[in-house]
């Protein structure tokens, strides 16, 4: 075995240990050189500093984001195997075939409903528990789902929706259906009844994102200056009108950030659909269909086209988000 081979493929434990020691020594030498070198270079030229800080970022953005992004756009104009140029065919398929129209419809449903519902729940909840005795417990409860992965949450909700027929001695195992049976109703197949099954999937995302909305909005609500509230109260505002004319306008920038952030997360939703229905029963969304087309059906062109569509859909949300951030800074 030559030396080089030994270094690249250590087999026994002593060899591995020795390699580890070597690597550590090398690391110390390099780090030491850098740390000492920085002290010496008190007056580095501006371009070197700029390059030092910006260079790696640009490099990673270029190779990790820009290049794959351009490759995807390029691939979306080519056929299933990426060999021949097919023009806009993939986009025509994505927008005209019934199967994909349903996918686009579902995505629209998700993007409209999830941010609105999650933000609304979060906001109402934040305002209701604000400055109450049990605020911390209440907030923790609603924030907990954030800590659960999307796949985990989907499995939990799949159990909630589980269906067993109302027949003989068959017992319900799903929470919702057991509740229905107790109320004297027929158990329902929540994941099958179209188009409502989409809403039952959306509930999972809302359940997770409401905690995020609540946390951010609660902080914003607390940041409303007391003198404004006092002035409004003196002018006779209470309850709902206080919420409508003082609270909501005061936290508008935070609201916009929350809605757009959740909207972006929703556009990328994949795990919930894959775990709960596998895209069957007309519940597929763009991000999931992109995966199935690229890796299951091995139709790279169509997959790339769906990815580009997703990208284009995100752009206005990001643009709006950035504009709002700028406006907020100007006010400050």
């Amino acid at each position: 075995m030559t030396t080089v081979e030994w270094l690249l493929r250590p087999d026994s434990t002593p060899e591995k240990l020795l390699l580890m020691v070597l690597a550590i020594v090398l690391f110390i030498v390099v780090m030491g050189a850098i740390l000492l070198g920085i002290d010496r270079l008190k007056r580095a030229p501006t371009w070197a500093v700029v390059l030092g800080f910006l260079g790696p970022t640009l490099l990673f953005l270029g190779f990790g984001l820009l290049y794959p992004g351009l490759r995807t756009v390029w691939g979306s104009f080519r056929d299933a195997r990426g060999r021949e140029f097919v023009g806009l065919d993939n986009y025509v398929t994505a927008f005209t075939e019934g199967q994909f129209q349903i996918v686009l419809r579902n995505t629209a449903l998700w993007v409209v409903l999830v941010p609105l519902a999650a933000t609304m729940f979060g906001l109402v909840y934040a305002v209701l528990v604000d400055r109450t005795r049990f605020e911390y417990v209440a907030k923790t409860l609603i924030f907990l789902p954030m800590a659960i992965s999307l796949v985990g949450a989907s499995i939990i909700w799949k159990f909630v929706y589980e269906y067993k027929p109302d027949q003989g001695n068959v017992q319900q195992t799903g929470l919702l259906n057991q509740l229905l049976v107790w109320l004297g109703m027929e158990p329902q197949q929540f994941l099958l009844s179209q188009p409502w099954n989409n809403l039952f999937l959306i509930v999972v995302m809302v359940w997770i994102q409401a905690g995020f909305a609540m946390t951010v909005l609660s902080a914003a609500v607390k940041a409303i200056p007391d003198d404004i509230i006092e002035a409004a109260r003196l002018d006779g505002l209470h309850g709902l009108s206080m919420f409508r004319f003082i609270t909501v306008p005061s936290i508008r920038p935070a609201l916009v950030v929350v809605v757009t952030t959740i909207a972006m997360a929703t556009l990328k939703v994949f795990d919930i659909v894959r775990t709960m229905t596998g895209g069957n029963f007309n519940t597929s969304v763009v991000a999931y269909e992109f995966y199935t087309q690229t890796f299951v059906s091995r139709n790279q062109g169509l997959g790339a086209a769906l990815a580009v569509i997703l990208f284009v859909l995100v752009i206005p949300i990001i643009a709006y988000n950035v504009r709002q951030l700028k406006l907020a800074e100007e006010i400050r």
């Binding site: 780090m31 269906y163 027929p165 027949q167 003989g168 099958l192 069957n280 029963f281 059906s297 091995r298």
Partner: protein, 458 residues
């Protein structure tokens, strides 16, 4: 000075971190060969001399077989690793079908992969002609000696043998409870009509029980059990020749004979009087998990469940799988008693390297020595189409029955059709449309036409 000290600390911390990473790496790659399962007794190394001394070499294996079955796989390699000195590095992944093309594309192929679908093998050979290596002489010799022509054909693309069969399974089975049959005086049907008559008899005797139970939910592979239903019935109502033309797309996917076959399947699966015992109505088939859908048989909520021999792994451990036990299976009958088509499947060993040790391991996997070693370490639920397999080593009655049917000339064997079709159809549109056929109940013609248009558009 303070800053200097902090820096020293940071340095120590980084070094410690690096050390951790390195030790983690050192532990990582030790999972080779051996381990788990019952050890193979008394290895006779004489059979392995042909492979030569392979000490110091490693063969990487990438498969869709994960624990606990993977443990039996690794145990079955012990004779090879002990006699030749080669190491086998085994990696099983549930994402196998999606990941293998990615690895090939990235120029990082495994040495050996077990491909469960001949259709997938064909598309790999077409897409990556340089990556897939044709079988070596020893492998070809084994394939010709120990496998029937049909099985060799499944591993052949354009006249070149690439892959050899590993395991095999038989899908034309209906599971039932021998006790319940005896109690009600039911006989095992020997014709398709007999099966339907028996079902009617069950409905008449037990108005509150739906005779059949079925489930096709299987994560992102949802729908596949329904494709097996259709294939089994096409073999019966249209015959093996039409089946072959259908599978190879010589006739359209929605040929009238196939539509008729799907309607015949619908006579059971879409019949509210027949399904879905203990699980709900017809639509519940789409969400009932495949691996639990037969539980109604021991529970007494259904009588019949069509599933492959490997379904035996899904029964509760307390149940005995035997003709005089708690659950057993009978052959899904043909249209007449003499008409005996048999649907089955299997995995295929494919090599991506012509290194000596890789070819030797491929040859070992295609030999009776491996088949017998595998049978020895497997408790139940495994058979091979290798005719050198010693039937006495099979430990469960259903495995013995499967092997009998597989090697009986009176049964016409056909490989699972969806596995032979291109992946986008056989593991995509076909699954999806069959699921839509169950729920929301899309009609047979539309279902098959949708698959046809997906295939025509490729």
């Amino acid at each position: 000075m303070r800053i200097q000290k902090r820096r020293g600390l940071a340095l120590v911390a980084s070094v410690a971190g690096l050390g951790l990473v390195l030790t983690a790496c050192a532990d990582g790659n030790d999972d080779t060969g051996g381990g788990g399962g019952d050890a193979v007794a008394d290895v006779d190394c004489a059979d392995f001399e042909q492979y030569g001394d392979l000490s110091g070499t490693t063969v990487t294996v990438y498969t869709s077989i994960v624990d606990p079955e993977a443990e039996e796989q690794r145990a079955s390699y012990v004779p090879f690793t002990e006699c030749t000195g080669a190491e086998i590095s085994y990696e099983g992944s549930r994402e196998f079908e999606a990941q293998l093309p990615v690895r090939l594309e990235a120029g990082n192929p495994p040495d050996i992969a077990y491909i469960p679908q001949p259709g997938f093998l064909r598309s790999l050979v077409e897409d990556f002609p340089d990556a897939v290596v044709p079988a070596g002489d020893a492998v070809v010799a084994n394939a010709e000696e120990y496998y029937t022509e049909g099985w060799v054909e499944y591993g052949t693309v354009d006249g070149t043998l690439y892959a050899t069969p590993l395991g095999a399974n038989v899908k034309s089975f209906v599971w039932y409870s021998p006790g319940a049959f005896e109690e009600n005086g039911y006989e095992i049907p020997t014709t398709w009509q007999g099966l339907l008559d028996l079902t009617d008899q069950m409905v008449a005797d037990h108005p509150d029980i739906k005779p059949w139970c079925a489930g096709i939910e299987s994560g992102d592979a949802t729908g596949w059990p329904a494709t097996d239903w259709l294939e089994d019935v096409v073999l019966r109502t249209a015959g093996p020749d039409v089946y072959d033309q259908w599978v190879t797309h010589e006739i359209p996917f929605d040929d009238p004979q196939i539509v008729a076959a799907l309607e015949e399947v619908g006579g059971i699966l879409q019949n509210e009087d027949y399904v879905n015992g203990g699980l709900g109505n017809v639509a519940s088939i789409a969400t009932a998990p495949w691996n639990e859908s037969g539980n109604g048989i021991p529970d007494g909520t259904c009588f019949l469940h069509r599933a492959a021999n490997f379904y035996q792994a899904n029964w509760d451990e307390s149940l005995t799988v035997a003709e005089d036990g708690d659950v057993y299976a009978f052959y899904l009958p043909g249209v007449s008693e003499d008409d005996r088509p048999l649907l089955g499947g299997g995995e295929f060993v494919t090599a991506f390297s012509d290194r000596e040790e890789v070819q030797a391991f491929h040859a070992y996997l295609s030999s009776p020595q491996w088949a017998n070693a595998k049978a020895e370490v497997t408790g139940q639920g495994w058979i091979s189409a290798n005719n050198g397999l010693d039937e006495g080593l099979l430990q469960s009655p259903i495995d013995q029955l499967s092997f009998d049917l597989l090697t009986d000339d009176e049964y016409t064997f056909r490989f699972d059709g969806s596995d032979q079709m291109p992946g986008a159809i056989g593991a995509g549109a076909f699954w999806r449309e069959m699921t839509a056929w169950i729920s929301p109940g899309q009609d047979a013609q539309t279902t098959l036409s949708n698959i046809e248009s997906a295939w025509a558009g490729m």
